[in-house]
């Protein structure tokens, strides 16, 4: 009786192993599932291809640039925003050209806070039209939300503080999500 039970257990276990190896339905954990749906991890020395939204001719154009890859999203986001400020097209946009990146933070609710300051320490006022200011804000917001789908919203600070506007028009007391109607069809 005992021998029969042992034979049945061994046979059952063997059958189960054969079934698994033959590709039958498997219970997959959510972690495994996520790993399967995301692209294979890039090598650390591979550049990160970032889409930058830059103000041009009353709209946002997009350019793709290669930036240094970072293991953490916060560092990577900072690298991408720094590239936006350094981009030739970005430099030509009046408001972007008058700002510099101080810091960038990502919090647990996937809100990115971008801390900006005037490019020149002597500059007391950023002078821009409402349209230029709007495009500058959404250049940052769209760049971050496009490259990092995990980012839910973006807040902007000036010199570490919540400020009403950058140049007197666009409300910075709120958080922003992606806006696609400002993007130029290319």
């Amino acid at each position: 009786m005992t021998i029969m039970a042992l034979v049945l257990i061994v046979a059952g276990g063997g059958g189960y192993l054969w079934f698994r190896m033959a590709g039958g339905p498997q219970a997959v954990s959510s972690v495994q599932q996520e790993a399967q749906t995301t692209a294979p991890a890039a090598r650390p020395d591979e550049p990160f291809m970032a889409t930058l939204f830059v103000p041009a001719d009353g709209a946002l154009g997009n350019v793709i640039v290669a930036v240094k890859r970072h293991p953490e999203l916060q560092l990577q986001a900072r690298e991408v925003v720094a590239a936006l400020f350094a981009a030739d097209q970005g430099k030509r946009a009046s408001v972007v050209n008058e700002l510099r990146l101080r810091a960038l933070y990502l919090d647990a609710s996937w809100t990115v806070t971008v801390d900006l300051s005037a490019a020149s320490p002597n500059q007391k006022e950023i002078r821009a039209s409402a349209e230029d200011e709007l495009l500058a804000v959404y250049a940052l917001v769209n760049t971050l939300t496009q490259n990092f789908p995990e980012v839910r919203q973006v807040r902007l600070l000036m010199d570490g503080r919540v400020t009403q506007t950058l140049a007197g028009h666009i409300d910075l007391s709120r958080a922003y999500v992606k806006r696609t109607d400002l993007v130029k069809n290319q």
């Binding site: 002078r127 409402a130 919540v162 007197g168 028009h169």
Partner: protein, 340 residues
Amino acid sequence: MRTIIGSLCACLVFISSGANAAEKGLAIKGVRYFSYSGFTRIVFEAEEAAPYVLTKPGDGRTLHFSSYGGPFTVKVTQLPPINDGVVKGMELSQDGEHRSILITLGPAAGDTKDFVLRGPDRIVVDVLRGTAIAPSPEAPGAKAPVIVLDPGHGGAETGIVTGQGVEKALMLELALTIKRILRKSGTRMTVVLTREQDQAATHDERAALANTSGAFLFVSLHAAQGSAGRVFILDPDEGQSSPSAGRPSDFLGFDAVSEQQQMLWGTQQAGHSQESGRLGRNIARALAGREGTEPAQAPLAQLKAVDAAAVLIEAGTAMSRVKAAEAIAQGIEQYVREKR
């Protein structure tokens, strides 16, 4: 002296700040005001909590604000220019060695309340709009609609600088030209400017002036490079979860009514989006000179607290200013005629 209003608050601040507070006196480092439909709030920002007195002399038309005991120091170069019907003005007063801030009440002023807020320390004076002396409501249609023109920037905030001039000056000139054209038009309107000279005003102050004036519509005037004119209306706020979320940290509410009003401040424009769109369409089409032109949407700080149809116009600095003023006036007049 008829009434000593601030004695209770003076004692509270005195107790909480220690026995030497009265000797140190009261130093005011900032003065702000907010005009609401039911009251005007004056906020005195104190360097440190200290006893104060708020008195109302016999004529009942002024309030005197000063320190209780120690020296009274005002470290503000200019007191804000209030004239909203409830409060007529504020000035520094020196009577011998006694220094105070004199608050002149307007014809619509009623009772006064004051209280203290801590961290940062503030003394808040609310002057309620009195029902007994408030102007009686006129029959519908009898009152001329109030058009508020808001020349952008001002004071130290110059706006853009172009070969044609500085934005703050160009927009004041444009506003005055529109006002002249509207006055000559056959449509009855009262035109109010948020500033009539080169002076600074916050977005909240401009919106408060529009709201207390009973604005029928609000037009904020700004400049941009080029020869085109653009019209913006406020966009729906997608990123903000609640009306109070993301408010600046100057929450001043204390009693239930004020708290509610404070929470709603900045959300007034939401109820006027359709009318703002209609006004924006009229002006955009008059500026472009063709049908089908639509206003753009933008999260504009100027418009969110305005309790009326509101637009922001960017006039190209290369545009003829007279033509721009005529087009804007035409769009305003058309909207008023459609709505009356």
